[in-house]
């Protein structure tokens, strides 16, 4: 090997190392927040349920729950996530009461109690649908580290980019893990078993 080639190889290695480091730096904050149980995620909140009544997070106490943030006009990821949670809860065999499935809209402008109520009824199993004032939704998003942003679409109603993870909490209210949409069912089931204790 000539010196020139060795130098080229070394530069290549440096470039790989830099890009790996850059990727790590970009990804780390999100993954850390999403997977570690020690980070403060959650906390008490009050929103509005599908009947238009105030819903206090105290109602979730004593039972594990899975909470997902989305919007009813979301065609792909939101129904896919809720359908999967419904299916996995069925597979685990503990009944509809084994853990609560909670859906919180990040689009309170379009999703009032009625929209959220009708939407959550789609999945053939109890799903708690919640909405609230813009300020309430912003507050809850902050508590759970959820990001969302309206995106205009040419010729269509706006869409919303949003954090797509499902947050899992144990019966004592502690945050346990998240399930990402791109995780397989086996991994998701293993995590759900952890909150069932």
């Amino acid at each position: 090997m000539t010196i020139k080639r060795i130098r080229l190889l070394l530069w290549l290695l440096v470039a790989i190392a830099i890009s790996a480091l850059a990727m790590l730096l970009v990804r780390q904050p999100v993954e850390q927040a999403a997977t570690e149980g020690t980070v403060a995620i959650g906390g008490p909140f009050t929103l509005t349920d599908g009947d238009g009544r105030p819903f206090s997070s105290a109602k979730l106490a004593g039972k594990p729950f899975a909470i997902f943030f989305g919007f009813t006009h979301c065609p792909d990821v939101c129904p896919t996530t809720l359908a999967r949670l419904a299916r996995l809860r069925g597979q685990l065999g503990g009944g509809d009461d084994s853990f609560a499935i909670v859906f919180v809209t990040v689009d309170p402008e379009r999703d009032g109690p009625q929209e959220v109520d009708r939407y959550t009824a789609l999945f053939g199993t109890p799903v708690i649908g919640l909405t609230g004032s813009r300020a309430q939704i912003e507050q809850v998003k902050k508590q759970f580290g959820v990001f969302s942003q309206k995106v205009d679409q040419p010729g269509a109603d706006y869409s919303v980019d949003h954090t797509a993870a499902t947050f899992l909490f144990g019966s004592d209210g502690t945050f346990v893990a998240t399930i990402a949409p791109d995780e397989g069912d086996d991994a998701a089931l293993a995590k759900l078993k952890r909150i069932l204790g």
């Binding site: 896919t80 419904a86 299916r87 789609l122 995106v151 010729g155 109603d157 980019d161 949409p181």
Partner: protein, 143 residues
């Protein structure tokens, strides 16, 4: 000279047939929706049995005001949905699946909710293979 031209033309035709795409569309489905949900996603499988590349350019569904190719992609834990304005490549010999949490046909402007058991007509336009039609079957949302 004439037979030579004929032979050349034949050879050319044979060559182009060999590199032409041969598109089959199948397994179309969508989740049921409720009133108020303005949009839904349709999923399907595109098989290119030929060796030539093709591209899905456009989808239309009479039941919806608009049907568009969309992609959902995860970026740092955030799901982003975007138009595929350049269409979708369907390479020769490959099967491309439009499936949940990925590329899908976004249906907007539904006057009526999609009910389980319904069949929706869809027309897919390809750059080379022309138009193909298929029925999108509406399934229970909890599928």
């Amino acid at each position: 000279m004439k037979p030579l031209f004929a032979a050349a033309a034949l050879l050319l035709a044979a060559c182009s047939a060999r590199v032409a795409p041969d598109i089959v569309v199948e397994n179309g489905w969508a989740r049921a929706t409720v009133a108020g949900q303005g949009s839904a996603a349709a999923y399907l499988t595109i098989v290119n049995r030929g060796s030539g590349d093709d591209r899905l350019i456009d989808v239309s569904m009479p039941r919806a005001r608009m049907a568009k190719l969309h992609s959902s992609s995860m970026e740092g834990g955030v799901m982003r949905m975007r138009d595929l304005s350049d269409g979708l490549a369907i390479p020769g010999g490959e099967t491309v699946r439009l499936a949940p949490n990925g590329t899908h046909v976004m249906i907007t402007g539904l006057a009526q909710p999609l009910r389980p058991g319904e069949q929706l007509a869809a027309t897919l336009r390809f750059a080379k293979a022309g138009t193909k039609t298929l029925a999108i079957r509406v399934e229970q949302a909890a599928r």
